[in-house]
Symmetry: C3
């Protein structure tokens, strides 16, 4: 530092895009996997993730989009080993905007890469669910 700010240190943390992740999920295939493997739903999603803000069970398409979000986060992190599905959850803000709740193993992997925040968007139509995430650091 040579003054109130230095050229190399001019950007506060949390401003650069460090990674991107995209995931596309076939809703029917995802539903079939949930039916075939009864404990998969619980392994992938925390109880609160399986419900809408109004307390109803999420549709298969909505769950598939949330699974795509988890996969996208894993990809943005480079798919390190040891990530737990419950440590990356999607929650809806009061306005209905989905956002990521990163904890435990996923938070550790993110911190190790200098990632301090995330941006998320979800979509589903015609049997395809998709998610894109940005890792900001």
């Amino acid at each position: 530092m040579t003054g109130p700010c230095s050229p190399s240190g001019a950007i506060p943390a949390g401003r650069q895009v460090l990674g991107v992740g995209i995931d596309v999920v076939a809703v029917e295939r995802f539903s079939a996997a949930l039916l075939r493997t009864p404990d998969l739903l619980g392994r992938l999603f925390a109880p609160t993730e399986r419900l809408t803000p109004s307390g109803r069970s999420r549709s298969a398409a909505s769950l598939a989009a949330r699974f795509a979000a988890k996969e996208s986060v894993a990809k943005a992190l480079g798919v390190p080993s040891g990530l737990q599905w419950h440590d990356c959850a999607v929650r809806s803000t009061a306005g209905g905007r989905p956002e990521l709740l990163i904890t435990g193993t996923v938070a550790e992997a993110a911190a190790a890469q200098g990632i301090s925040s995330w941006r998320l968007s979800l979509s589903h139509d015609a049997g395809i669910a998709a998610a894109v995430v940005l890792a900001i650091g």
Copy 2:
């Protein structure tokens, strides 16, 4: 400000990614909706948006991709109420690159969130149209 630049103000506006939006649209379903609801086309797209640069009517896939762009922008903004479809248009630059033309209700929502520019990409193949947008502020 303590000098020519301050650590907290070192980044000029327009440099951070504030939001991301993705949308996937089934072209056949979108086409069916346009046929079923005759005034939907005009509600969604301004006359200039419905034509290619050479003046021909856009294909259903091209319109579906543009609809996905509008939905992606709404998602990146958190789907605030009051957005008008015509206030978010896709135009092609001279080089053929699609870009967003944000006006009125959408420009107001963007300004309120500190968003000053957008990045857009569109794709369609095999009955699926998709868009991704970044909101930069």
Copy 3:
């Protein structure tokens, strides 16, 4: 410049998102094109791109995702003329993370736009392959 850093020059190169690209490819249609046009595979992919890190031939879905990556890069650059497919390759890092190897015509187009690095993510499921790239400058 009025001091150790200037407000307009406070951000080092390589920190802004200059472009985004998305591409969706129908795997079956892509496979059919490869079968129909025997020299297409070689035109699109360098020999090393066609093999997995363990030396096996890539699946059609994996090749389609890599083709989507090339298309996404072209879109992020504004689809300038003269780009060569081999000048934008996807390679897998030791950890299995895909990254772009940009050379020749694509590197020149990127440099002309101030792009210094890229972020990439790939996905495929149920016959759809997708890629998203960010151009950072």
